[in-house]
């Protein structure tokens, strides 16, 4: 029940809706007690022949009036209570989203998308149910139960109540047992269902093998056996599930028998009227729901508690890159790297060491080296996706930690290694950073990125949807759209992080040539595998195991006959083979 304390802030915030709902529930509870009472009185009047037209009209009128009142109150609590619980879900969802936007890439490496999604969907749903259904079960279930018991014992007969309730604990015991059985068989059924999922997944992955070996019948046999298991498991669930209704029916039936028998005895003793007995049996029917409500409440609370704990845990994670800088003005795009040593965590081997380098505004820097040499780490440090005490980077002679994160990101446009497009139109994807950009501006950058002709070739042009529900683009097209997107930012610093890998050599040359024109006075960093991309660079560094092993211009590096030279020759030959020469 601690979950209700944990959610107290929300109950306070929504005290109006919760107050209304609880009042309406109490009102409904009392209103429910009236009709059986009235029926009893009418029955008594019928039995002893004292019925008059006025008496009848009055009592029937009360039932109709109470019916209307409880109808309205029922609508009221439902909308108020569930409405409030939906508000909780909506607020938590937005809170989690905003929280996620503050987390660094390291966070996303630790948490899987599936886990985050589960917290933002299933867990929120469980908490929403606690704030709605559980509150209902608590107030309505408990309240109705207590009220009914009070009316039965105080106004009708205590001994009769005791006799009539004899079957209830027995029914309760069976409910509890069925519940446990159901829990087991349901877990089993779910396990069989996931077996089924796994088997289908495996079969589809192994499809080529199945075809090649002609194993269709084997696969089918396996699947059928698993489907059979799932069927049997579900039948066991159905078996337990089918016991509920008859058990309740029996309980209610025997309870009725006992109350009619006991009531008849009391009537014989003239301590009870026929009308009271009629009311009594009707009240007895109202005890079914509270019986259920208790089990339901406990279940919801248990789930809600665990879910809310996971949500709180997520919200408690502080972003590991603190936005503590205060500099929010325009800076000149000269960059100085003064990295003594950087490693991922204490005691880890250094990923970068002794990287000292400065770059004038307007220059182009090439960064090459094999996979794992530290190229991407260097870029992540510049973007402050990572930081380290002995890794200092200055822009315009100012430590990047003194920039507000927002301002730092305004200075740098990045094209990441794997381009990511959102489910939106191409135009919206290009204009991601500047949604107000005009069509002309969008087309201009698309032309520089050599992707305009591709886009114009689509049926809907720039309004073509991409992503899950749209068309599938090739890797090269995605990269070029990502380049256009970065260009539209018109930032003083542009980083191409292996962003031309899926673009052919000719297109690459065209993009680079256009870039040089469009980005005079602006600084460009190019990380790449293919050396043709850095031929024009003012400076190029070769990284190996986190160290700079060669640096210079294309010509000077070729003259050195080192790694750069070897790589260049190799790529020349590779190109010949690729072109079929």
């Amino acid at each position: 029940m601690r979950i209700f304390l944990d959610l107290m802030w929300f109950f306070r915030q929504e005290y109006r809706r919760y107050g209304l709902a609880v009042l309406a529930l109490i009102g409904v509870g009392f209103a429910t007690m009236v009709p059986p009472w009235m029926i009893g009185k009418i029955v008594d009047a019928l039995a002893d022949g004292s019925l008059t037209r006025e008496f009848l009209l009055q009592h029937v009128g009360i039932i109709a009036g109470v019916a209307l009142a409880s109808y309205l109150l029922r609508v009221l609590w439902r909308v108020a209570l569930f409405g409030a619980s939906y508000t909780l879900a909506n607020e938590l969802r937005q809170k989690i989203f905003r929280h996620l936007t503050r987390q660094s890439p390291a966070f996303y490496q630790q948490m899987t998308t599936g886990d985050l999604m589960a917290r933002a969907t299933n867990d929120i749903q469980a908490v929403e149910q606690t704030a709605g259904e559980a509150v209902l079960a608590l107030f309505d279930g408990a309240l109705t139960g207590i009220l009914v018991l009070c009316v039965m014992t105080l106004f009708i007969s205590l001994p009769l109540t005791l006799v009539a309730l004899i079957p209830w604990p027995i029914v309760g015991y069976f409910m509890w047992r069925f519940g446990k059985e159901l829990h087991h068989s349901f877990a089993d059924a779910q396990a069989r269902f996931s077996d089924l999922n796994d088997d289908v997944q495996e079969s589809i992955s192994a499809l080529r093998l199945t075809r090649a070996y002609g194993r269709e019948a084997v696969e089918q046999g396996q699947f059928n056996a698993i489907a059979r298991q799932a069927n049997l498991a579900n039948q066991r669930v159905a078996r337990t599930d089918s016991k509920y209704d008859p058990a309740i029916q029996l309980g209610v039936g025997f309870s009725f028998l006992l109350s009619v028998a006991g009531g008849a005895y009391l009537i014989y003793l003239q301590r009870l009227t026929l009308g009271q007995l009629t009311s009594f049996t009707l009240y007895l029917g109202y005890m079914i729901w509270p019986m259920f409500a208790i089990g339901w409440l406990l279940n919801l609370v248990e789930r809600g508690q665990a879910a809310y704990a996971r949500i709180k845990e997520l919200l408690a994670i502080a972003p590991d890159i603190a936005d503590t800088g205060s500099f929010s003005q325009q800076a000149f795009p000269s960059i100085t790297f003064a990295i003594h040593r950087f490693s991922y965590g204490e005691g880890q081997p250094p990923v970068l060491e002794d990287i000292n380098l400065s770059l004038e505004a307007g220059q182009m820097l090439g960064i090459v080296g094999h996979t794992g040499a530290g190229k991407s780490t260097l870029i992540s440090l510049l973007l402050r996706q990572l930081e380290g005490d002995e890794a200092k980077i200055l822009i315009d002679e100012r430590d990047i930690r003194h920039f507000t994160l927002d301002n730092l990101r305004r200075h740098i446009a990045t094209v990441p290694q794997t381009p990511f497009l959102f489910s939106a139109t191409i135009a919206e994807n290009i204009a991601l950073a500047r949604p107000e950009a005009t069509q002309a501006e969008i087309e201009a950058v698309a032309k520089i990125a050599q992707v305009h002709d591709d886009i114009a070739g689509f049926k809907d042009g720039y309004l073509t949807e991409v992503g899950e529900r749209g068309i599938t683009l090739s890797g090269g097209q995605k990269q070029r759209i990502a380049i256009a997107r970065a260009l539209l930012q018109n930032a003083p610093i542009l980083v191409l992080d292996d962003a031309l890998s899926a673009v052919d050599v000719k297109t690459e040359a065209a993009i680079l040539a256009h870039l040089q024109q469009a980005r005079a006075d602006k600084t460009t960093l190019v990380v790449c595998h293919r050396l043709s991309a850095v031929e024009q660079a003012d400076k190029t560094i070769v990284l190996q195991h986190g160290h700079i092993i060669e640096r210079g211009t294309h010509t000077s590096l070729l003259a050195e006959s080192g790694w750069y030279r070897q790589m260049f020759d190799y790529q020349q030959l590779e190109r010949a083979v690729e072109e079929g020469r």
Partner: protein, 586 residues
């Protein structure tokens, strides 16, 4: 929708006997449960009110009541079991059929469709249909019978008053219809907004670094808030409709009918004193209460039915896909001579992947197919395996078009070792053997041929070592060797190696080469290789470039020409400087 529903019901027709049993049991259960209030009525009117305390009669009545309750409960339980069994068997049949269809679909189908949605058809969608059967159709059947039973009992007691209660039914039907009309669009909106929320969230998590680098956290948060709030509003709309129309309204109508019933009883009593039996009132009130619950139940299950029908129509659409054609009259190939006669081939009908491929492979020859990535090597082999339909041209084995060779003959003749082979959960021996009936010695023999025997012996349980899911506890090279062993165990007449040794070190490769050479001349071997050392000894090399044959000849002949093969060879002679650096460090 209606068609889908009828087709779904058609599946249950097979279980006619069980259904009839279930239905008879349901009738029995209903009669028994309706009898209870009637017996109490008899007790009230014939014994209690007149003060007629005959112990034997009352005892008999009590016994009848107990028996009817027990019979009712048992019969209800038994009918529920039968309905469920039919429902679940139907789902199993449906699942088996969809799975079978998926296995028969042409390979090209899987290139178009996402695996996830295909799996979902076989599992989640059929599960939704299960809910339709178990929670909607059987509940509707039970409740309808129960309502009719109660009305008949009421008619026995008092026909006029029965009609008052029967008014509930048209009213509820109108209500169901109205509710369905009003709530379906809102309900669907809630669902689609929820999937928007999930899609947005998922996408934002995946693309978070881009959002941050572009400083768009605010904009994305705002868009997300909007979707989430739209969803909230739709849910509020939904709850308002539910609130006004569902349980509360049915309850309201019930109370009004109760008032009308009492009023009618009162009027009858006022008109002629003593005409009303209290027991009848008791029974009527009881019955009215019992008729309301099933009606509420049915109304609130309608949305579920809607959803399940959407799932069912997706399943049927998949079932109606055309399967890969099977040769009507299969022909037996006379030899293993392979003849490629391909004019052109394309996956999408637009870009040709292969064109003008004309050459033959004589039985027992060793052929190497080389070329750069994307040159069409693997497509050529996929065609030989008959994975795809060749529209322009043909491939013949022993003079018979591969499309006319039966599946059994084809799979017995051709063995293929894939680049990324599939490993099943189970032991190594099982993975080599699969369903083939061969001895342990033969399994070992195949493993030795594939040079896997030594490393299997080094594993903790040898051949009985259990492999992890997808063979994660094997190296990529070992997985390829396992696949080779598995194929060799089948003793194919034509062996296709599709980059089968790409992840294997050169020492092991040389050993494999040696054992494969013992098969030379006995079976036809076709090796696709990026690494040229694998195919140097081939009787003939076919060099592909962008889907056409660029050069042909033996290794020696091709090295004499200035051309693609020679350059490829030179490139491989020179180590990639990246790799070279890696090796020098370690």
């Amino acid at each position: 929708m209606k068609q889908t529903f009828t087709r779904l019901l058609g599946y249950a027709a097979v279980y006619r006997r069980t259904l009839i049993q279930a239905f008879l049991l349901l009738l029995l259960a209903t009669v028994a449960s309706v009898l209870g209030p009637y017996l109490i009525k008899v007790f009230i009117d014939s014994y209690l009110t007149p003060g007629n305390w005959v112990a034997a009669d009352i005892g008999l009545l009590a016994l009848a009541y107990v028996v009817s309750q027990l019979v009712g409960a048992t019969a209800f339980f038994m009918q529920a079991l039968r309905f469920n069994r039919v429902a679940l068997n139907v789902i199993q049949t449906l699942r088996e059929e969809v799975f079978e269809r998926v296995l028969q679909l042409p390979m090209a189908y899987f290139d178009k469709i996402a695996t996830g949605s295909l799996i979902s058809r076989i599992t989640n969608d059929t599960e939704a249909i299960k809910d339709l059967y178990v929670n909607v159709i059987s509940v509707f059947a039970q409740n309808t019978v129960r309502v009719i039973g109660i009305l008949i009992a009421m008619a026995f007691l008092d026909l006029r008053l029965m009609w008052i209660c029967a008014m509930l039914i048209p009213v509820v039907l109108v209500l169901m219809f109205t509710y369905q009309k009003l709530s379906t669009p809102v309900f669907q909106r809630v669902r689609s907004l929820l999937s928007d929320i999930n899609a947005r969230l998922n996408e934002s998590i995946e693309g978070m670094s881009v959002i941050q680098l572009m400083n768009q956290q605010q904009a994305f948060s705002k868009a997300f808030s909007k979707t989430s709030t739209d969803h909230y509003r739709a849910k509020i709309q939904n709850i308002i409709i539910d609130g006004f129309l569902l349980r509360a309204l049915v309850d309201f109508i019930y109370m009004l009918l109760l008032a009308a019933l009492l009023f009618s009883f009162g009027l009858i009593e006022l008109n002629s004193h003593g005409a009303v039996e209290i027991g009848v009132i008791y029974a009527f009130i009881n019955y009215l209460g019992n008729v309301t619950e099933p009606l509420i139940d049915m109304t609130s299950r309608l949305n579920m039915a809607q959803q399940a029908l959407v799932s069912a129509s997706r399943v049927f659409k998949l079932l109606d896909e055309t399967p890969e054609p099977v040769p009507a009259e299969p022909l037996q190939p006379a030899s293993t001579r392979i003849e490629f006669d391909i004019d052109r081939f394309s996956y999408n009908g637009k870009n040709d992947v292969l064109h003008d491929i004309h050459f033959a492979i004589e039985p027992g020859k060793f052929i190497g197919i080389v070329g750069h990535t994307g040159s069409g090597k693997s497509s050529l082999m996929a065609l030989l395996m008959n994975f795809y339909r060749l529209e322009f041209g043909s491939i013949q084995i022993g003079g018979v078009d591969i499309r006319d060779i039966s599946k059994t003959d084809r799979t017995r003749m051709i063995g293929m070792v894939q680049q990324d082979p599939f490993i099943f959960g189970g032991s190594i021996a099982d993975n080599i053997r699969l369903e083939l009936d061969i001895s342990d010695a033969e399994v070992e023999q195949a493993a030795k041929q594939a040079q896997l025997h030594e490393s299997i012996l080094n594993m903790p349980q040898g051949y009985q070592t259990v492999l992890a899911e997808r063979g994660k506890n094997l190296s990529a090279g070992q997985r390829q060797l396992l696949s080779l062993a598995r194929t060799l165990a089948r003793k194919p007449q034509i062996l296709i190696l599709d980059e089968a040794t790409a992840n294997i070190d050169s020492h092991t490769e040389a050993l494999i080469q040696k054992s494969l050479m013992t098969l030379r001349g006995k079976i036809t071997m076709i090796a696709i290789a990026h690494r040229l050392s694998t195919v140097i000894d081939a009787d003939q090399l076919v060099v592909l470039h962008q889907g056409e044959i660029k050069q042909r000849g033996t290794h020696r002949e091709l090295l004499r020409e200035e051309g693609l093969y020679k350059h490829m060879y030179q490139l491989q002679q020179q180590q990639d400087p990246c790799e070279a650096m890696e090796h020098s460090d370690s």
